[in-house]
Amino acid sequence: MAYWIASSPHNHIQDKTSALMRLVIYATIPGIIAQWYFFGWGNLIQIGLATVTALIAEFLVLSLREKNIKEQLFDGSAILTAVLIGISIPALAPWWVSVLGALFAIAIVKQLYGGLGHNPFNPAMAAYVMLLISFPVQMTLWQPPLSLMHHQLDFVNTLSVIFTNFTLDGYSVEQLRTHIDGFTMATPLDTVKTALTMGKTVEEAMTSPVIGEYFSVGWQWINAAFLLGGFVLIYKKAISWVTPASFLASIFVCSFIAFMVSPDTNTSTMFHWFSGATMLGAFFILTDPVSGATSVKGRIVFAALAGFLVFIIRKYGGYPDAVAFAVLLCNMAAPLIDQFTRPRTYGHQ
């Protein structure tokens, strides 16, 4: 006659952390589809490569540390990190870039600190920053939208570019990126930044074909898709709405003030919202609970600081899209923010 001994409470809601993670992964699907639609198979292949490497790395480290592999391998956190890396690096980056990134993210940034729940930095963004600083060339070979390219990039060609740097009929990535009129196309943020540094006004910068009719061909829809994914997450209570709202609000306020000060040299607020990795950062990266702040007040400060840094680096910094740097800087500040934004306890003043 064995009695069951446990400490209260005895019943429990049934959702689990792995279900939470899986939900976030499913929420990235609209964004990935938009990316596939506008930029072809590039990112999908990168995501595949990153996921395989991430799982292998996680398996190795977990077996090394004799942890419960079955339980922790497929709890979704490694896959989520891999997916985020796959989405954020350029579509035509060589294969070893995403492999190295996934390896660094899982082995160093996550498992070395003690596995799930102990890593102070967001693994995906730390990997992205490491890759960007170690391989600046490969990491800035951004593929222009398919509609603007005069060469056709089907699956097999993309595969060969990723693995051999050349398409089947011998074009290098550089050639793929040159527009018919001869100049190399870059991301909208990059084009605007180079134009501004050359003293052009924002309108002139906006005329470049990369911008397209609204803010940017392709990129705006990808951001819109991630926004959609974000709303699903908020509705399903997987993430708290506070972080994205505060992040987008702080970007909006900064860019709005800058725009008011000098409309010529500053892009519009919506441009900031729907270009680069803003929406991805707002809903999928800043809301990573492990590396962010925990209390509600803490999250507001955390996200506002991130938005401010994104704006500062985009406007004055050397890198076109600074979401990754801003996230890392805020992860660094998170423990300090936590110490100063503790909520008032019941019965204390």
Binding site: M1, A2, Y3, W4, I5, A6, S7, S8, P9, H10, N11, H12, I13, D15, K16, T17, A19, L20, N68, E71, Q72, D75, S77, G114, G115, L116, G117, H118, S240, P289, V290, G292, T294, S295, V296, R299, D338, R342, P343, R344, T345, Y346, G347, H348
Partner: protein, 858 residues
């Protein structure tokens, strides 16, 4: 104040932070009335069923008690009596398992009901309104009423507050899932609940009375509304259903918008909260004079065929309730006392129902699945969102796992009400509340230890100061005595010269004794105390080194010997110095000085002993692992016990040697005093460091000279015996170390006995010559037995001889006891006999151990 009432009138209430909506599962028992249960075979009544002290038992096993008769009475204010739930005989009062998560046992009264259920005489009170406040509170106290909501705080204290009460809040929220006890109670006994509330109103005279009830109990709300129609002071507040609305602090926040400051009772805010069940019990106690002997318990859970609310007598084992509601005999039994959120799992079903038991939950497998795997916290913050006390559970569990109590107190761990909401929602299935309970217990334990350490520090300081004061006092006294003596000596009168000659004679005698002793054995008979102590320690260390040599490592052994050698050398040097200033006239002053210096040496010796003991313990520990390593496991248990035995013996030897050294110093001192013959000796302070010294001189001066002579004879006999023993043990040197050490202990022991004997003899009063003679006889018998034992060791007679010695020692042990028994005439004799018996028993025990050690070493 007005705003609070206006908002309550409009039914608008405040909100508390967080809260969860677990499945209520109350449908299992809401549609059935409260059933009375058959009498169980036995009732188990723990004497403490409330917060505070347990009452004092006023019944003993075998008494016949009537129903409602009090079993314990209260002497301390924080105590609450318990009563017999039915008439019957008390089978026993013993430690029985109680309703506590630890599964530990506590003192409980086991009552066997006789089935007649006969009440004690009760005087019913028709109109309680003319009773004044104190009798009401006294009635509540005598009825043994404690909070029935779950805490069990004695009601008569809560009700007896001096503070001005604005709100009397009746907690009818019952937010815990599954539990419907209060709901059914309100439906069926709304009248007596309102009576109870009126009694509380009479005692506390609050400005308003609010009944907080959740909106998921419509029938109970109707029943209460019907009752409170003609009593406008009571307001019924129907609050939204949310767990933990029933929490004291949460309900106060909802109804009055006030927050109870941390660590303070709500009465400081002018609010007193009582559970509905308690009100019913108050009404029963005051009106129909029935003490708290039964209560409504919800026996529920889908594992039961017929879950229902029952009137359960206090002390009914859970087994009985489960049988009543047909709990199938299944292999894995999963039983919780209390609800699923705050209840604790029971280690077995013998646990009795107590005053705070409101639910027995027997869930089926699918209702409450087994705890699944706990994984790392990802700081998702859902627990912080639901925490009603607005804490940060994810930070708390991080520091609780790291046992960082300073951070935990900074994060206000003690404001956690352990409601379980955070652990309920945690997606990583971390048992958060369990971590907090463990940390809270650790922090409380640490506080207790700090207080105890503080107290120990003060006592140590006080003791040191006392010893300092005594030393100074003693020095002045000696200085005064010395001047007085010097003044008398040179005053040139007749008795002054006689005194001078007496001093000279004493000096001569001491001289002779020292010469004679130093001749026989260099270090053992040397009478200077300091060298004695150092010798003893050196010997003990050398012996330990000798012992550990066979199995310890060589290095350690060599260090021991070196230390022993140094100690011996130091001892000899000191002895030489002592010799030089012995013959000077101021010898007794030196004696005086040696006493205080010896006090320091004594302390140093004690420290050395402590260090030796610590090392001995370490050595014993070292030897144990090395012994276990030996192959014949059969033998190793004895050797382990024997090595532990050696370590203890070594410690005892060191201590006894010290004691002996002190005694010898006392003897030399007593000789001087006798020569002085001053009254001064007897006035020496009672708690002088040399306790024995006090024992001997006062008795000696008071007994007649004749006894004096006999004491000296006995002392001489003892000394002779000791010398003889030392002689023959010296002969069998080739015996192993253990043997020699055993024999030296014998010698020490014999002298210890000798010490005890003269003390005994001299302590008899003058008129008891006969008794002294008997005591001497007893001493002689023991000495003879002692000698007999020593011979058997020497001859090493195999098997039966040892058996015989064992019998003999037992026989002699009885003999001692009888001998002591015969002479027990006056009370003093009795005491002396007991001492002799104790010493004999200790000696017998030691002999038995030694004998047992003999047969393994041979």
């Amino acid at each position: 104040m007005e705003t609070v009432i206006e908002r309550i009138e409009q039914g608008r209430f405040w909100q508390f932070h967080g809260g969860i909506h677990p499945p209520e599962m109350k449908f299992l028992t809401t549609n059935k009335p409260i059933r009375t249960v058959s009498l169980p075979q036995r009732l188990v009544l723990p004497i403490q069923q409330h917060i505070g002290e347990a009452g004092e038992l006023i019944v003993k096993p075998g008494d016949y008690v009537l129903k409602g008769q009090p079993l314990t009475k209260t002497t301390v204010p924080l105590a609450v009596p318990i009563h017999a739930p039915t008439s019957g005989t008390i089978a026993s009062i013993e430690n029985h398992i109680i309703a506590h998560p630890s599964g530990l046992n506590e003192m409980s009264v086991i009552l066997m009901p006789d089935g007649e259920d006969r009440w004690r005489e009760r005087h019913i009170v028709e109109n309680y309104s003319q009773l004044d406040k104190n009798t009401l509170v006294e009635k509540i106290a005598n009825a043994g009423i404690a909070g029935m909501g779950g805490a069990g705080f004695p009601t008569h204290i809560k009700v007896n507050t001096k503070a001005k009460i604005d709100f009397l809040i009746i907690n009818a929220a019952e937010c815990e899932p599954y539990i419907t006890a209060d709901d059914l109670l309100m439906r069926e006994h709304a009248a007596s609940v309102i009576e109870g509330i009126k009694i509380l109103d009479k005692i506390l005279e609050p400005a308003f009375i609010l009944i907080g009830i959740e909106d998921n109990k419509p029938e109970a709300i109707d029943a209460l509304n019907h009752e409170i129609k003609q009593f406008d002071k009571i307001k019924l507040c129907v609050v939204p259903t949310k767990y933990p609305t029933g929490g004291e602090k949460q309900l106060i926040k909802i109804l009055t918008g006030k927050e109870v400051p941390s660590g303070v009772l709500p009465s400081s805010l002018g609010i007193v909260m009582q559970n509905v069940g308690t009100c019913h019990a108050i009404a029963e106690a005051v009106i129909s004079d029935t003490p708290l002997i039964k209560r409504v318990v919800t026996v529920t859970g889908q594992a039961l065929e017929k879950p229902q609310n029952v009137w359960a007598l206090l002390g009914t084992p859970i087994e009985h309730l489960l049988q009543e509601c047909q709990y199938p005999q299944q292999q894995k039994r999963h039983i919780i006392m209390g609800g699923p959120m705050m209840g604790f799992s029971l280690p077995n079903t013998q646990v009795p129902v107590v005053k705070t038991t409101n639910c027995i939950l027997a869930p089926s497998e699918k209702e409450i699945p087994d705890a699944n795997q706990e994984i790392e916290c990802i700081r998702c913050g859902q627990c912080a969102e639901v925490c009603p006390a607005q804490l940060l559970p994810q930070e708390l569990q991080w520091h609780a796992k790291a046992k960082d109590s300073e951070q935990l107190t900074k994060l206000n761990l003690f404001d956690c009400i352990e409601c379980g909401a955070c652990a309920y929602v945690c997606p990583s299935h971390i048992p958060l509340v369990h971590y907090y309970r463990v940390s809270k217990a650790e922090i409380r334990q640490q506080k207790l230890l700090d207080i105890k350490a503080e107290k120990a520090k003060q006592r140590f300081e006080a003791r040191k100061a006392r010893l300092e004061r005594d030393k100074k006092a003693r020095e002045e006294k000696h200085k005064k005595a010395a001047e007085a003596r010097r003044a008398r000596m040179n005053s040139g009168t007749e008795e002054a010269n006689k005194e001078k000659s007496a001093v000279a004679a004493a000096l001569a005698r001491v001289q002779a004794k020292k010469a004679q002793q130093s001749g026989v054995q260099a270090n053992t008979t040397n009478d200077d105390k300091k060298s004695q102590v150092a010798d003893a320690i050196a010997r003990a260390k050398a012996k330990k080194a000798g012992q550990s040599a066979p199995n310890g490592d060589a290095g350690d052994d060599k260090k021991q010997q070196v230390a022993a050698a140094i100690a011996r050398a130091k001892a000899k040097k000191l002895a030489a110095k002592e010799q030089a200033n012995d013959d000077s006239a101021e010898e007794n002053i030196n004696a005086v000085e040696t006493k205080p210096t010896s006090a320091q040496d004594d302390k140093k010796a004690r420290v050395a002993a402590a260090v030796a003991r610590a090392k001995a313990k370490k050595l014993a520990a070292q030897e144990q692992p090395s012994d276990v390593g030996t192959d014949d496991t059969g033998k190793s248990p004895e050797t382990i016990s024997s090595t532990a035995e050696d370590a203890k013996k070594a410690r005892i030897a060191a201590a006894v040697a010290k004691a002996k050294a002190k005694k010898l110093a006392a003897n030399t001192e007593s000789d001087d005093q006798r020569t002085e013959g001053e009254a001064e000796a007897s006035t020496k302070d009672k708690d002088d460091v040399m306790a024995e010294a006090i024992v001997e001189p006062p008795q000696e001066t008071s007994t007649s000279t004749q006894d004096d002579k006999k004491a000296r004879i006995a002392a001489a006999v003892a000394k002779a015996k000791a010398k003889k023993l030392a002689a023959n043990t010296g002969s069998d040197d080739q015996r192993t170390e253990g043997e020699a050490e055993a024999s030296t202990k014998d010698k020490a022991e014999v002298t210890a006995e000798a010490v005890v004997e003269p003390m005994q003899e001299t302590s008899t009063s003058a008129q008891d010559d006969k008794k002294a003679r008997i005591a001497a006889a007893v001493a002689k018998a023991k000495a003879k037995k002692q000698a007999a034992n020593a011979d058997t060791d020497v001859k090493q007679v195999e098997g039966e001889a040892k058996a015989s010695t064992k019998d003999k020692t037992n026989v002699t042990a009885e003999a001692d006891v009888e001998a002591a028994g015969e002479t027990s005439t006056s009370a003093q004799d009795d005491k002396k006999a007991r001492i002799a018996a104790a010493v004999a028993k200790a000696k017998a025990k030691k002999l038995a151990e030694k004998a047992q050690k003999d047969n393994q070493t041979s």
